[in-house]
């Protein structure tokens, strides 16, 4: 398990919609070691406030030592991150956590909702690289409205997965939930479903997987201070009745290990 605290140079800042941004960072150690579903902790500024690093999924890596994060401005830290300029140096710590366990011989259904789309580009790429042909694998992307989904679609198209799109307001793709599209597939127990998105979405995905006897992996969030097992702040209750730690044992879990409020 190699983790690095790297001084990464920002090489590109893209604003993809009103509040959503994508940062490209030169970070050869982290991008070289990263696996799909892992995350990084980023210092959004060098002052004492905001104090803690912020966790972000690795959106994708490239062979030339870069990785990207895709994020939404929701508070002070992400607001500062949206204002960084190409050439600035950021302190980045990672790759952290356990990522997706790709089942090579099982057809995949990847589901990303809202900001949960972030880790799925890396996952789609990894799955398609591992399998020679991923034309029987699916990816379903959803969001509240067009601007949460459309800017990323082209990046996903290149892999040749079967693509499904949904928005709550119908402004792009199917009007409704990603789970409507999931249910409309010819589901069978051989599938492995990989999901990341809002908790209610993941709970519904898991319940569909459970009734269809499909394996389901989910990437969950938690507040975090350290991201590496030192503070025990990121606890989440498991079915066994004990706490697990999202930064160490997750963020990707087999959905059946966790408790879901539906």
């Amino acid at each position: 398990m190699s983790q690095y605290q790297e001084k990464a140079t920002v090489s590109r800042v893209e604003q993809l919609s009103a509040k959503n941004y994508r940062l490209t960072l030169d970070s050869p150690d982290i991008s070289g070691a990263a696996k799909a579903g892992q995350f990084v902790m980023i210092r959004t500024g060098l002052a004492k406030d905001p104090l803690l690093r912020r966790p972000f999924s690795i959106h994708q890596t490239s062979a030339n030592g870069q990785f990207q994060i895709y994020f939404k401005v929701v508070g002070r830290g992400t607001d500062m991150l949206a204002r960084v300029k190409a050439g600035e140096i950021m302190s980045v710590f990672g790759p952290l956590g356990r990522g997706f366990r790709i089942k090579k011989n099982s057809p995949a259904i990847i589901i990303g909702g809202g900001l949960g789309i972030a880790p799925m580009l890396f996952l789609a790429k990894s799955i398609c690289r591992l399998k020679t042909d991923c034309s029987n694998d699916h990816i379903i992307l959803g969001g509240r409205e067009r601007s949460e989904v459309e800017p990323l679609v082209n990046d996903f198209r290149q892999f040749g997965l079967r693509l499904g799109l949904a928005t709550d307001d119908g402004s792009y793709g199917h009007q409704g939930y990603v789970t409507d599209l999931l249910k409309s597939l010819d589901l069978h127990p051989g599938y492995t479903v990989y999901a990341c998105g809002p908790e209610p979405m993941m709970a519904r995905v898991y319940s569909i997987c459970k009734s269809g006897s499909m394996q389901c992996q989910v990437s969950v969030e938690s507040v975090m201070a350290c991201g590496m097992g030192a503070c025990l702040g990121c606890s989440r209750m498991t079915k066994k009745g004990t706490y697990t730690h999202v930064c160490l044992n997750g963020p990707v879990f087999n959905a059946e290990e966790l408790i879901w409020n539906s």
């Binding site: 398990m1 605290q5 210092r43 104090l51 690093r53 590496m228 030192a230 503070c231």
Partner: protein, 316 residues
């Protein structure tokens, strides 16, 4: 002819004494912020630490509090981890081998909800190889006394100290709670109780509210404040305690830089602990050792010990 540089700039003297325990430098990691050290092995050189203090251990395993357990606040954070730990027996069987192999002093932080529990943990640690000392967290509620924290009542603090001293075969450091009106009373009580040294401060009790939901942010409602926000309070308390006891004092609270650490030494601390800063920069404790080393060289000090308690007040 070659010039010989006589300054000992390769190995400046950073040794400090915590009672009978001599450590290589004054930098320790604070309990609960450094796991069981192994988490950091690939991120820093653990051998550079003066000592490592591990996550608080109780007699029986504790599951900890429900989430959310942490929340960031201005220049700090609140935590209500709930003293989650594997219990003393699993600590000894699962964690101590690795820690003993590090060949740096390991100080075991202990906690309990009764006197008997404190004493029993100390007894179970007797003879375990690799343990250089015990740090007693007295900020825990005393179940038999209606949940009042041991550390808020000088007489209870003295009795816990005595109980651990009776059980232990290594030096005992007592960690004070800052949630009292006169910290020197508790400090003198634990000194009388036989403590070999005193560390302070533990977290300050605080609270955060989510206006949107009108609920406390932490599931536990209240939590402990740590980080740079508490440094001035910690520094003041270290100064007061160091002036009122004769045993060594270890300063904790908001230390993030070499300068912070040196201020605590001036205020009277013989050593310091680094807590929350480990979360932001996992290498920070090693960097502070390097920083202190450089300071001793740059200032031409005979040793780091020469600045301990060196604060000048009102004497121009």
């Amino acid at each position: 002819m070659e010039f010989v540089d006589n300054r000992e700039d390769i190995f400046p003297d950073l040794r400090v004494n915590i009672g009978s325990l001599e450590i290589a430098n004054p930098v320790m990691t604070a309990s609960g912020t450094f796991g069981y050290a192994r988490e950091f092995e690939n991120l820093m050189n653990l051998h550079r630490l003066g000592a490592v203090i591990v996550k608080g251990i109780s007699l029986h395993p504790r599951p900890g509090n429900p989430p959310p357990r942490i929340v960031e606040t201005a220049c700090g954070m609140l935590n209500a981890i709930g003293l989650q730990n594997v219990g003393v027996d699993r600590f000894i069987s699962e964690k101590m081998d690795y820690l003993a192999g590090l060949n740096i002093p390991v100080i075991v932080n202990i906690l309990g909800d009764s006197l008997a529990e404190y004493r029993e943990i100390a007894e179970r640690l007797v003879g375990v190889p690799g343990i250089a000392g015990i740090e007693v967290n007295i900020s825990c509620p005393n179940v038999k006394k209606g949940g009042v924290a041991f550390g808020t009542d000088p007489s209870m603090a003295a009795v816990v100290t005595k109980a651990v001293k009776e059980g232990a075969d290594v030096p005992v450091m007592v960690k004070l709670s800052p949630n009292v009106s006169d910290i020197t009373l508790v400090a003198r009580a634990v000194e009388d109780g036989g403590a070999d040294s005193i560390s302070l401060i533990n977290t300050l009790i605080g609270m955060a509210i989510d206006l949107k939901t009108r609920r406390p942010v932490l599931a536990n409602v209240i939590g402990g404040l740590s980080g740079p926000a508490i440094k001035p309070v910690a520094l003041r308390m270290v100064y007061q305690v160091a002036s009122s006891v004769s045993i060594p004092v270890i300063g904790v609270g908001g230390i993030e830089t070499t300068e912070d650490a040196l201020e605590f030494l001036l205020a009277g601390a013989s050593a310091i602990q680094i807590g929350t800063a480990n979360f932001i920069n996992p290498r920070v404790s090693e960097e502070i050792v390097e920083g202190i080393s450089k300071y001793v060289v740059d200032e031409n000090l005979p040793s780091i010990r020469s600045i301990i308690g060196g604060l000048s007040i009102n004497d121009g």
